[in-house]
Each structure stands twice: as structure tokens, then as C-alpha cells.
């Protein structure tokens, strides 16, 4: 029996590092997500999309243990995340919440160094290991030459790179990013998502919440489409993104066409204004 049990756990481990099993979660009396199942495939970028208020961020926060489900479990590496110590979760899973704010005057190096916190203790607050990891995180996100600058003096795109750098310094190969492109213009959004793609190329599993459907389609290997607290569809963008699905999920009339530069579908919303009569 013991062997069977172990085998089962190993199986889960191979299939998914992170999964929600029958998760119900809400705020106070309001239930946002009811009995949801989702499995995050390892080594790829998974993006959660869906209309406003459908529970995308709530799901991400539940997966990262910021919210405790009232029913069901979130499984991280085969263990119930609710039973793990906060610190042990932080060693396995890096989280970047939506629109984080650093105190005025905090330097980039100090912010990124904070990412080492789960690996430190009262007695061991800084080591040469920490310095190496932070240096690598700064270099990888291209903010090494900003190290001495205060975070509040940077542009939105640079700032977001710095926060991602902090999450990297945490040293986890599982990253959860809640709307990493919020408040960024398109050029900076692309810049940040290219960085996310780099992280995935170097072997990390990434879960994001994104608002922009075309960016989500372009940058993800796995889409989870949500509506009203439930998963409507999931899979590769090429299989998932159809005009019917967009209508069902968002109530959006759109044409799905071939992307002139990418190998993924491109969504062209129809709307009412300036649309040719043949559309």
C-alpha cells in the first residue's frame, strides 16, 4: 500500500508541479470560484484569461497560497499547499502580485536582494551565495546597471523587470505573475513578456494572468480560459482560441485570423465602429 501511495505521488509530480483540485474560494460570503480543477503543465508558460471579475486573479492567488480555499486543495509537488510552511512554499514558488509598490528610495539591488528572504534567517541574513544569486537575477533581467538606482526613479517597464528580478532571486523554478504588464505601454509590455519567455526558455514553469488576449495567445503554450469562476476551456492557443469561444467567454464578436508574423492565431475584435459592412 505504501509503495502504491508513493508511486501515486511520484506520478502527480511528473505530470504537474502545481494543480488545483476541486477548489472553492471566495471573499467573505461571496464565492468566486466553485469546485475548480486545473493542472499547470510543467516547463511551459500557462496564461489564465477571462473577462473581468471571472476569478483569474483569485485563482492565481489561490494557487500561490495567498488565499486559502474553503473547499478542495491546491497541490504543489504532490503535497497539499495548505499544509506546507509559508517559508517552504516560498522556496518552491515565486510570486509577483499585481502592481507591487516599493518604498521611496529603496534601491534596485536592495529590492532584488529581498528576494533571498526565504533562504535567510535571523542569524544568517546575508551570504556570498545570496550575493551571487542576486547578481545573476539582476543580469538576467537586464537591470544590472540600474542596481544603485532607487526603484521609484525607474520607468514602468524597468520597474517591472526589477520586480521580476526579485522573484527570480527567490531561486524557484515556478513563477506566478499576476498581470505583469499592467500599466505598461505596448512596447514595454512586449519587452516584459519577452523576458518572461526567456525565463521559460531557461526551464522555468510560468503561470500568468493577462488581460490582453493577443499577447496571451502569442506568449503562452497553454491557455486556461475562465468564465464566472469556472474553467471554460484549456489547451494550446491554436486549439483553444476560436471565434465561438471568444463569444462564449467574453461575449465578444471577433474574427480569428492567421497572425502575419507569428505562428499563433490573431484575434481581431469586431465591435461597431469603423467596421466594413462585409465583416
Amino acid at each position: 500500500m505504501a509503495a502504491q501511495f508513493t508511486a501515486g505521488t511520484a506520478d502527480v509530480k511528473d505530470v504537474a508541479r502545481l494543480a488545483a483540485r476541486g477548489v472553492t474560494v471566495g471573499y467573505g460570503d461571496r464565492t468566486v470560484i466553485d469546485g475548480l480543477d486545473v493542472t499547470i503543465p510543467p516547463g511551459v508558460i500557462t496564461t489564465i484569461i477571462g473577462p473581468n471579475g471571472c476569478g483569474k486573479s483569485t485563482l492565481l492567488r489561490t494557487l500561490s497560497r495567498l488565499l486559502r480555499p474553503t473547499g478542495g486543495t491546491v497541490v504543489l509537488d504532490g503535497e497539499d499547499i495548505g499544509r506546507l510552511r509559508t517559508r517552504d512554499v516560498a522556496k518552491k514558488l515565486g510570486l509577483l502580485p499585481q502592481a507591487p509598490v516599493a518604498p521611496d528610495g529603496l534601491t534596485v539591488a536592495d529590492l532584488v536582494a529581498r528576494g533571498r528572504h526565504p533562504h535567510q534567517s535571523w542569524l544568517r541574513q546575508w551570504s556570498s551565495d545570496d550575493a551571487d544569486v542576486v547578481r545573476r537575477a539582476l543580469a538576467m533581467t537586464g537591470v544590472a546597471d540600474l542596481a544603485e538606482r532607487p526603484v521609484d526613479s525607474l520607468s514602468g517597464g524597468q520597474r517591472q523587470r526589477v520586480w521580476i528580478s526579485m522573484t527570480l532571486a527567490q531561486g524557484t523554478d515556478l513563477l506566478l505573475l499576476d498581470e505583469p504588464t499592467t500599466y505598461l505601454d505596448l512596447a514595454h509590455a512586449i519587452d516584459v513578456l519577452d523576458l518572461v519567455d526567456d525565463l521559460h526558455e531557461s526551464g522555468r514553469t510560468v503561470v500568468m494572468v493577462l488581460h490582453d488576449l493577443n499577447l496571451a495567445t502569442r506568449y503562452s503554450d497553454h491557455l486556461v480560459v475562465m468564465r464566472a469562476g469556472a474553467v471554460l476551456a484549456q489547451g494550446h492557443p491554436r486549439d483553444v482560441i476560436t471565434a465561438e469561444l471568444l463569444h462564449e467567454a467574453f461575449g465578444l464578436r471577433a474574427r480569428v485570423v492567421e497572425d502575419p508574423v507569428g505562428d499563433r492565431p490573431l484575434i481581431v475584435p469586431i465591435g461597431r465602429a469603423h467596421v466594413r459592412p462585409d465583416a
Binding site: T86, D130, L138
Partner: protein, 368 residues
């Protein structure tokens, strides 16, 4: 097509000793099994503040009807003084100076914690109702029971009442402000409301009380270091010491709290528990301070902000904030006893310094 960054391109060569164009990291320091980041400027500022606080402490002891030179004060403090000095210093002057030092330290650290937790410079024990709550309960004791209770329990009874009042009000504000977590603005708004309520109660008690009790209560309410006895100083000393040790122990998980609850939780901090313990320590520190010297205004608000600016540190540094608080309180007391007209309580001086500083903070915040 990628114009931005390719991983590995900038990654440092593994295990190589020299990395010329790398970002400069804060240097680490190792003392036995303890390692921490070396912050030369902050350490220097903290040391200078400690030295300044000790200097003003000694000056304050030397000043009085029987002036004692600084060198003799220091000699006496280290047990090398003459007998006359020893009597004046140990029995008469030291309690007052020590009370100033301890209360300043307690209020400064308390303010640094509340401001950090609320991520807002306005969140000081003065504004969160702790000070006014302590004041209201102390005035209640003086005015309602009049001479009887005060005579029975003495000034220690007054201190205990203030301590309970501060703690009770602090907890009340915390629980009223708690709504699936603590939001800085909500905490401050509720603190201001409760402060107003406590002040109204105090005023009401004063208007309906015997005139002699009112005089007694008024002196206490302004905040004063006059007539401190060893008994009160000892209570404040041990209380503050225990609380500072507690703060030091929980200060480590507190470090990422400046980045917000979600980020802190992502970094493995059980912020609900850490914040609860720290706020409790802050409330107790403020209550101990107020019980020993009365509700001395503005020290807890101003000290952390001054320490931040002196130390060039983005968040209130705990030790430096305490030292600035001590310096401010003993310095104000010294000023009140030397330069200013006789008999002015220390609370008036800290208010005169602290008031304009608060205005300065608000104006600066408006300019952003």
C-alpha cells in the same frame, strides 16, 4: 527578432572570482555564525546618534541648581565620582534623565514599527489613539477617585492606568481597523476617530472635576519628566528592555513587510502573525513610554522620519529611530530647563518642534 535580452548573454561566468562589470552588491559581514549586510552610512549615523544621545544625557544630568561639569558627570556614572556628585546624580538627577532616555527610545521604536506596518508616516502612536487613550484613563483615575486612589496607589497607580488605557485603546483601534487584513489608511482614519473620542472624554472629565485634580491631571497630560522616582524608572526600564528584545527577535521576518502584504507572503512571511506581534510590541512600548512621562506629543511621529532622512534609509530604521526619540526627548527637556522660561514641561517643547515637522511632511506629500 529578439532585441531585448537573451539569458546567459549577461549571466556571470560560473564560479569565477573576478566579475568586473557586475552590479555592486551590498557587502556582507560575518561575525561567527551571524552574517548580515554591511551598511556603513546607517551604522555611522546610528553610532553618532548614540554618542549624541549619551552626550545630551550627561549634559542634562549636569544642569541644575548645583551644576556639575561634564567630566565629573561621566566619572560619576562610571563609579569614579566624588561623594557629593554621587548623591546629586544618583539620587536626584539620574531618574529624570534615564526616564527621558527610556521614554524617548520606547516612543521612537514604537513609531518606527507603526509607521512601517501601516506603510504611512502618519501612523504613529499619537495618531492611532494609544497616547490619548492612555491619557483618558489616567485622567479618569485622577478625577473620579480624586485624592483617594491616587493617594493609595501613588504615581505608580497612575502609570498603570495609563498603560492599561494605551494598551486597551491600541487593541480597540486594531480590531476596528481589521478587515481581512490591515489597511494603512483605514487604520489611521479609525485611529483619528478614536483619538478624538478619547480627547472628548478627557475634556469632559476635566470640566466636571475638582479644580485641584484638574491641575494635577493637566500637568500629567502635557507630558513631563519632573519628579521622576526610581520606582517609575525601573518599571519603564524593564518594560522597555523586554519589549525591545521581543522586537529584535521578530524584526527579521518583518524585513520584506515594507513591500506590501502580498509580496511579503510570497517571500514566505506569515505577515498576519508577524504584524500582530509587532503592533502589540509597538502599542506596549508607547503605553510604557506614556505611563512613565505622560503623553509626550510628536516624539513617536517625528523620530522615525528624522532617522530615515539622517540614515538615508527608505524605511524607518528601528535602532536609529529609538535613538533620535531619546535625543529629542532629553534634548527638549534640557532646552526646557535651561534656555526657555522656567517650569515649561517637556511635552510643550516636543510639540513646538514636532508640530512644524508634521506640517512639513504633509506639505511635502501634497507637492508630489
Amino acid at each position: 527578432m529578439k532585441q531585448i535580452h537573451v539569458p546567459g548573454e549577461q549571466a556571470p561566468p560560473p564560479a569565477s572570482g573576478t566579475e568586473p562589470e557586475q552590479a555592486s552588491m551590498p557587502p556582507g559581514v560575518r561575525l561567527g555564525t551571524v552574517s548580515f549586510v554591511w551598511r556603513p552610512w546607517l551604522v555611522l549615523v546610528t553610532l553618532v546618534l548614540a554618542a549624541a544621545a549619551f552626550l545630551v544625557f550627561c549634559l542634562s544630568i549636569g544642569v541644575g541648581d548645583f551644576p556639575i561639569a561634564l567630566t565629573r558627570v561621566v566619572a560619576t556614572l562610571f563609579g569614579q565620582g566624588e561623594q557629593v556628585d554621587e548623591f546629586v546624580i544618583m539620587d536626584l538627577r539620574l531618574p529624570r534623565a534615564l526616564a527621558g532616555l527610556i521614554v524617548g527610545l520606547a516612543l521612537g521604536v514604537s513609531g518606527a514599527i507603526t509607521q512601517s506596518v501601516a506603510r504611512n508616516p502618519l501612523a504613529s502612536p499619537d495618531i492611532l489613539g494609544i497616547t490619548s487613550g492612555a491619557g483618558a484613563v489616567a485622567v479618569f483615575l485622577v478625577t473620579t477617585t480624586g485624592g483617594t486612589a491616587a493617594a493609595v496607589t501613588g504615581s505608580v497607580g497612575l502609570s498603570a492606568a495609563a498603560l492599561l488605557g494605551g494598551l486597551g485603546t491600541g487593541l480597540l483601534v486594531y480590531f476596528l481597523a481589521w478587515r481581512r487584513g490591515i489597511d494603512g489608511f483605514r487604520l489611521i482614519l479609525i485611529g483619528i476617530s478614536v483619538t478624538a473620542m478619547m480627547q472628548a472624554i478627557t475634556t469632559w472629565l476635566l470640566t466636571s472635576a475638582d479644580i485641584r485634580d484638574v491641575a494635577r491631571a493637566q500637568v500629567w497630560l502635557v507630558g513631563s519628566l519632573d519628579n521622576r522616582s526610581w520606582g517609575e524608572v525601573e518599571v519603564a526600564f524593564w518594560g522597555t528592555l523586554v519589549l525591545l528584545v521581543a522586537v529584535a527577535l521578530v524584526a527579521f521576518p518583518f524585513k520584506p513587510m515594507h513591500l506590501g502584504d502580498d509580496v511579503a507572503a510570497g517571500l514566505g512571511v506569515r505577515f498576519g502573525r508577524v504584524r500582530g506581534v509587532l503592533l502589540l510590541c509597538a502599542v506596549l512600548l508607547a503605553a510604557v513610554g506614556v505611563s512613565a512621562a505622560g503623553p509626550v506629543p510628536f516624539v513617536a511621529l517625528v523620530a522615525p522620519q528624522v532617522a530615515m532622512r539622517l540614515g538615508r534609509w527608505p524605511t524607518p530604521p528601528l535602532i536609529a529611530s529609538g535613538l533620535v526619540g531619546a535625543l529629542l526627548l532629553i534634548g527638549s527637556d534640557l532646552l526646557a530647563r535651561t534656555v526657555l522660561p522656567l517650569g515649561l514641561p517637556v511635552g510643550v517643547v516636543t510639540a513646538v518642534i514636532g508640530g512644524p515637522f508634521l506640517v512639513h511632511l504633509l506639505v511635502r506629500a501634497n507637492l508630489r
